[in-house]
Amino acid sequence: MKSLAELKAIREKMQGQVGLRSESETQTRVVVGMATCGIASGARPVLTALADAVMNKKLEDVAVVQTGCIGLCQFEPIVEVIAPGKEKVTYVHMTPEKAEEIVEQHLIRGQVVTQYTLGAANK
């Protein structure tokens, strides 16, 4: 390495990785239901798609975490987005493609993708 630019490039590459190991109160949590019901209906690819997208887009202060059965097994895979000070948004029948859309629309632009929410599915 001969320049500061190269150091910066490594830093940016690694920040997403090491940044995962922080705790903060301002963090937005993206929770994926990963109980038997969730896994059976395809939650695993959703989880990895979310984790990859968050990392690739270098989103700071977003944690993709798993949880157990939420109790709405017929709607699995379920993804909840919990931002501090905001109401929880529950997305249902997720696929990796839909998950990427949520990262793009909700996490980056702050617009809830209403058509995938539990409210829309119940209508």
Binding site: S3, R11, L20
Partner: protein
Amino acid sequence: MYRSHVLVCGGTGCTSSGSLQIFDLLKEEIAKNGLADEVSVVQTGCHGLCALGPIVIVYPEATFYSMVKPEYIPEIVSEHLLKGRVVKKYVYEDTVQEEGLKPLHETDFYKKQHRIALRNCGVINPENIEEYIGTRGYEALGKVLTEMTPDDVIKCILDSGLRGRGGGGFPTGRKWQLAKDLVKGGQKYVACNADEGDPGAFMDRSVLEGDPHALIEAMAIAGYAIGANQGYIYVRAEYPIAVDRLNIAIGQAREYGLLGKDIFGTGFDFDLELRLGAGAFVCGEETALMTSIEGNRGEPKPRPPFPAEKGLFDKPTVLNNVETYANIPQIILNGAEWFASMGTEKSKGTKVFALGGKIKNTGLVEIPMGTTLRTVVEDIGGGIPNGKKFKAAQTGGPSGGCIPAEHFDVPIDYDNLIALGSMMGSGGLIVMDEDNCMVDIAKFFLEFTVDESCGKCTPCRIGTKRLYEMLDKITKGQATLEDLDKLEELCYYIKDNSLCGLGQTAPNPVLSTLRYFKDEYIAHVVEKRCPAGVCKDLLSFVIDPDKCKGCTLCAKKCPAGAISGTVKEPHVIDTSKCVKCGVCIENCKFGAISKK
């Protein structure tokens, strides 16, 4: 890309409780569950809670598993990592609450800590330079080399108020300034004292094991500031993990061009070498350490000349301790005011302490200067186990002294500790309760200094031996009150006449216990009694005939055959045979045996 990181502590504490096996098992089990591409297992440095090792932390949830056993691993992997259900029964009890888990930084142990020197310990993989770079590593070196003059760097360190963390508390910036200006130009050296020898101290080891690149970066910054192109790290050979990780880190830094010629294309050259200490305590003294680096027998030299003028190989040298260096990159990045905003008027920043002795959370803590001893012991340390009472805390190891309970609320900083007759030292903090005999403690430290005195000067070589003999006489109940006066006189004589810091501070444990616990000394001398029940020669074991049921268990267990009696009749101890081992007390089911 990994969605989850499983951090396994690879510090000396957790390693000795089996964390390496946990690390291998986790990898194996994760692969078995097909999660190897999603979950990464990382070996880190010390998290501080050594009492609860082996420690495993799962991110991003920051779930803290403590005292992890190999048989927990399949369950943790299949439940937590696969299905996302935290296995609460294995989680650190202080983080468990009714709903969900309490974040780590809100637990009593971590809440009042502020980590600067330890910021990466337990967070990054110390064997991966890129993880260090990912936490802004080597950015400070880049900034220094491209944006600051050596004088700017020294001014920044001076303004920050950083003082040497190795014990003396000399202002670091001042040290650097002297090394730069006393002799203009020519060969100079940067050295690091990693010869941490105080019994009960392991702060520097944790930094070396958990964040070795911070030290390398800081030494390069010091090299630039004073005009040195070569550095030496003097580390004790008894720290094999630290030595390994330093070697790996130096190799990686060279590979990435962060050590060697023309760093960042600025024309600045700097390289580092390790020197292993062979376990002599005196080599932690700066002149002895440098004599040892030169390849000679580790013995101190008179000062002046100070190392800043004539140090290693008679060239101007800056010698700082590991923890001091670990603060440097953060000061450069965040500014002198940031650092100076923490701590007390004359002691800025934070200090790392190794908590040991009679305390619940044995381990490593970093607190802002000025935190009270009570906070450290009761809140962070979790208090004294078994409902015992706090008696004193010993800081500064064999060079320091005791802080008794009446000074429990003193804010910890350099000057307050000196005023109390102790010293900051490198940061060992040993907590003692009512079962510790203060004369015995003083004797323990003197025994250590007698062993470790290098023998070059008479006051230390013979004086400490005589001190030890006097203390031994006191603990055996053979001393008189005149002996106590002689003891104190000899202490001051050794302090005033010894050549180096080892001898000058060796009597401190005696002086400080004499100052605060003279009543215990007098009890030993006049009443021939050890109030804490430690000094064996002053104890006698007796069986209370009213409580003894004649079960014969004590007689069977007694290794000296000192207990006799018939079944169902009270037993008797023959004090001429008794070796005072205490086995009978431990085994008696009726509490009939006591020591007096």
